[in-house]
Point group: none
Chain length 528, copies 2
Amino acid sequence: MTKVDIYDTLLRDGTQAEDVNFTVKDKVRLAEAFCDFGIRFIEGGWPGSNPRDIEFFKAIKKSSAPIDSIAAFGSTRRAKRSCETDENLQALLEAEVPNLTIFGKTWDLHVREALKLSPEENLELIHSSVSYLKSKVDRVFYDAEHFFDGYKANREYAIKTLFAAKEAGADCLVLCDTNGGTLPDSLVEIIEDVKKHVGTYPLGIHCHNDSDCAVANSTLAVKHGITQVQGTMNGYGERCGNANLASVIPNLQLKYGFECVPAANLKKLRVLSRLVNELGNLKHNIHQPYVGRSAFAHKGGVHVSAIMKNSRTYEHIEPELVGNTQRVLVSDLSGKSNLIYKAKDFGLDIDSNDPAITGVVEKLKELENKGFQYEGAEASFELLMRKAMGRFEPFFDSLNFRVIDEMRDKSDSTVAEATVMIEVQGETEHTAATGNGPVNALDNAIRKALSRFYPNLNGMTLADYKVRILTTGTGTQALTRVLIESKDDNDTWGTVGVAHNIIEASYQALIDSIEYKLLKDRENAQNT
Amino acid sequence: MTKVDIYDTLLRDGTQAEDVNFTVKDKVRLAEAFCDFGIRFIEGGWPGSNPRDIEFFKAIKKSSAPIDSIAAFGSTRRAKRSCETDENLQALLEAEVPNLTIFGKTWDLHVREALKLSPEENLELIHSSVSYLKSKVDRVFYDAEHFFDGYKANREYAIKTLFAAKEAGADCLVLCDTNGGTLPDSLVEIIEDVKKHVGTYPLGIHCHNDSDCAVANSTLAVKHGITQVQGTMNGYGERCGNANLASVIPNLQLKYGFECVPAANLKKLRVLSRLVNELGNLKHNIHQPYVGRSAFAHKGGVHVSAIMKNSRTYEHIEPELVGNTQRVLVSDLSGKSNLIYKAKDFGLDIDSNDPAITGVVEKLKELENKGFQYEGAEASFELLMRKAMGRFEPFFDSLNFRVIDEMRDKSDSTVAEATVMIEVQGETEHTAATGNGPVNALDNAIRKALSRFYPNLNGMTLADYKVRILTTGTGTQALTRVLIESKDDNDTWGTVGVAHNIIEASYQALIDSIEYKLLKDRENAQNT
């Protein structure tokens, strides 16, 4: 298998995204995880631009990440400095890593308007900077900034800039679509033309996603002879992001047969993608190709009955290859086949001829008519099935609740107070709590009532809360659906509630969420 | 300019995404907006599969959307039925729209394993179904499901299925990458081969995004002669989604010079993209190409100083072309011009030299930091501007409120009761009311307090109520934004409220809604 060098710049270009930030500690942890996964180069930062990045290059040397994988990023020297006195180049050397990546200007517009230099002066900057660094470290990669735009504006000059870096000994000439405006056909054409000029010299690609083509462009570039792919895990980066390596890697490895990471590691892809989000406090994109929670989720009834016969019918790869799994969603678009699949998924041994399943189907229809919906609320669905099949032993019985929201004297902050009465293990608990809003107050009061009996509830938190108004057109009288996502150390689960009263809907979803936690903990205790 | 037919299937394929659901009313509103934008065909649903879609096709006829743009979706007939007795085909005809799209099997694996038919029987299903429908309506589009996978498995048979549809009179043969596994180079190769066989017959493309290449594939397909592009606004769809039309359209129109929508409409793209999310209660993807809030946002210092000299240096297109704007994240220069832009957009008469505008800018920044947002809440924005500029005379003063939600004895229906104290025309009104939920109770109590003084409030009703959780990750403590739509005989207006407490946020939006009604009625009375 032909090898391709994957170069991740999440820790530098990725952090230029509006909502992306990592602590030094997180950056080190991510670098270790990327190395472990088999990514060849990890760009850790731009030591000349901020102190956090300088700290990173100190910390990484005490980590488990092999230093041979770590790269630092910077620009060519300034026009009025020598290489020896240029702060940026010196900061790169002070990072003390064997791989340095520097970017230079390709586009004559930039040379004129941003640098205010002559075209020849710029060529000299590139040559001297690359050559100086190459005399000091193992590898120097040259990022030809705005290569494709520069090529379109002045082809001859753009190619000259590549030659300046090549002649200075750059280990790879990386063609950058900095503004992300290049479409695949012209990208491929330009790569082919560059190859004619530079011959069999190592070329790289660095794409941005402004035309929604970064993954396609990077994938095609390798097919056309590029050997280094720069991108970011999950595609984070300035503006619309960089080429998403979580898509590029499986495209190249599973579909074209290139080796980006050791074959056995590919199944860690999903976990790695989620780690990036967890550390960055970013929401998982459920629709993300290959690694998203919905990437192999089937909702339409036609699809479900087909995949039960043969997964290939609606799945482009086996989800397990990237650490993902097939899922079947239950909704009014789906039929009995979805239900049986789900039951099996929950470990409920159910036969398609079991008379109990008719009861479940009917209960489900009744609830769906009321506005219930179980996409994203699989925990509620499992509880529903177990209850309808008589396979649920209750943990407590909720008797009543009251929530008061009060604003006094035109004050800005409303007070919310909840009281609940719950029967649990023969005792009646009557508790009260305040909260940041009515649902938070209710949540606090329920936990207060139950935690004496079930201390494991302290290990559970609410991760997300969504509200949806179902029947529009009737204003504040409308039916309300609440979705709650909860988590503990091992798991994440969703529950749902539906009522005219938003507080009642929230209460239902909260209760389901707690019942599910208690159920799973009981099952785990029984299995060990 | 060569025209390309854009075909949006958000209302059908889009709703097969795990988290996407629209009410019938929202579907109609979106269809109207798509038509208005200039999308040629809008697929409204699959009438044979669920009652909600049947309702849509009834409702759409009473809307402003021209029926010539509306399409219904379904499958070829079942093997054991004639066209006349096939429920699916009959449901398509009952939709009473001039465009019908039916899908048939291309891939011999599906024919064998899912349909359990012989290859010849499948060809006959396609031919008879297309031919039957074509005798009844203006246009029949044939979706060749799994075309690319089918072609790879059995090229000869895949092409035969196209001929079956072509000979039956299909108006367009749509090549579907149903599983989304096809990469651009093989997609283009296959399209070229198909063209050799079918000649200059109209071809369409329908891509899914499982390899993160749906936009690139759709864009390239048009370059290679495809004339109908099926996709969804914002890319929602089963699993990883469909080709994102909010990227495909500007790619084709701005970069290749095809005409997808009238040139003047393209600048409505961003608003349209946001409308889809607002109605679907879906989070805006800030990094979305072309339309995302970050798509032209510059964070890196190098980038910022360059774009201040020349925007082209780091922007692939002018953001205004798609209704977006440049943003600078380091030093925010956009405040005042943004505001004047918005004010003009809302038709509010404001002079850019008015000294009061500085106060408005500050108030607006403060509120936007708190999570306020005025898309869909123009009435609140107008009130905000008037108040900040001292151009608002209050109608009443709200002093305090209290809402109680109570569930007793495990009953199904929670009771909601609200009390409010409002000062109006020198009197203090203290009223109480119940309601279907806490916000409805509050609404009833406020009206009860005010209607003696302002009987015109009886002519106003709440048309819609939406709740959105702003800061996810903190569960039920999160910040809540409430959007309320109100109407009277002449007008419809939106208001917003933001608070940790959902009841407080609703209260703010309710009060704004009433103040706006009173303001407009006073203005109208003064003008007549």
